[in-house]
């Protein structure tokens, strides 16, 4: 039962263009979402997050969009750079309103982004 899905295993983009990574979820209880970037032989690093009360969050070249009705989020990277080449994971969680979530995250399978010079 994959509650968070990244249906594109890989994405190839030219330097300077936009990269769009997509993520779908099924659990309507999820109310915050995160994107992580992972280089080989390193741990994932946090990129950007969004709460379900928003539909957009921007941080420099990275923007995350959330469409709650479609249970879909996307990460836009503009402009893409060769150093952005990595595996990108989306993750979803339920905030601790009821005192029982403990910050558990559910991750997608990841999308390998390659940015060509």
């Amino acid at each position: 039962d994959q509650q968070v899905k990244q249906n594109s295993p890989s994405l190839s983009v030219q330097e300077g263009r936009i990269s769009i990574l997509n993520c779908d979820y099924t659990n309507s209880m999820f109310d915050y979402f995160l994107w992580y970037k992972k280089y080989p032989a390193e741990g994932p690093t946090f990129l950007i997050s969004i709460s379900s009360i928003k539909d957009k969050n921007e941080d420099g070249r990275f923007t995350v969009f959330l469409n709650k009705s479609a249970k879909h989020l996307s990460l836009h990277i503009v402009p893409s750079q060769p150093g952005d080449s990595a595996v990108y994971f989306c993750a979803a969680g339920v905030s601790n309103a009821g005192g029982t979530s403990y910050g558990k995250l559910t991750f997608g399978q990841g999308t390998i982004l390659t940015v060509h010079p």
């Binding site: 741990g43 690093t45 601790n96």
Partner: protein, 112 residues
């Protein structure tokens, strides 16, 4: 980040032997997590901790146990390693239950 480390970074062990992986953090974060990463599965939660001596099971906890006797240390034990536990293991920490998690560098475990 240097605030969270894992040891060992690489380990090869034989089927049936117990293995303990260590996660150490210097940030005084309350919450800690153990994940495994396998191709096609992303990261899956094994166990988590919400305080000293407070731990619970995650999505894929069978064959694993954890302990947290101090805020800074979270240990993952494979009671009797099997080949299906060959994986890359990551620990993570977070300050609050809805904050972003920060990950360690990972431990690559091979069970032969």
């Amino acid at each position: 980040d240097a605030g969270i480390t894992q040891s060992p970074r690489h380990k090869v062990t034989e089927t049936g032997t117990p293995v303990t992986l260590r996660c150490h953090q210097t940030e005084n974060h309350r919450y800690m997590y153990w994940y495994r990463q396998d191709p096609g599965h992303g990261l899956r939660l094994i166990h988590y901790s919400y305080g000293v001596k407070d731990t619970d099971k995650g999505e894929v906890s069978d064959g694993y146990s954890v302990s947290r006797s101090k805020t800074e240390d979270f240990l993952l034990t494979l009671e009797s390693a099997t080949s299906s536990q060959t994986s890359v293991y990551f620990c993570a920490m977070s300050l609050t239950s809805s904050a972003e998690q920060y990950f360690g560098p990972g431990t690559r475990l091979t069970v032969t």
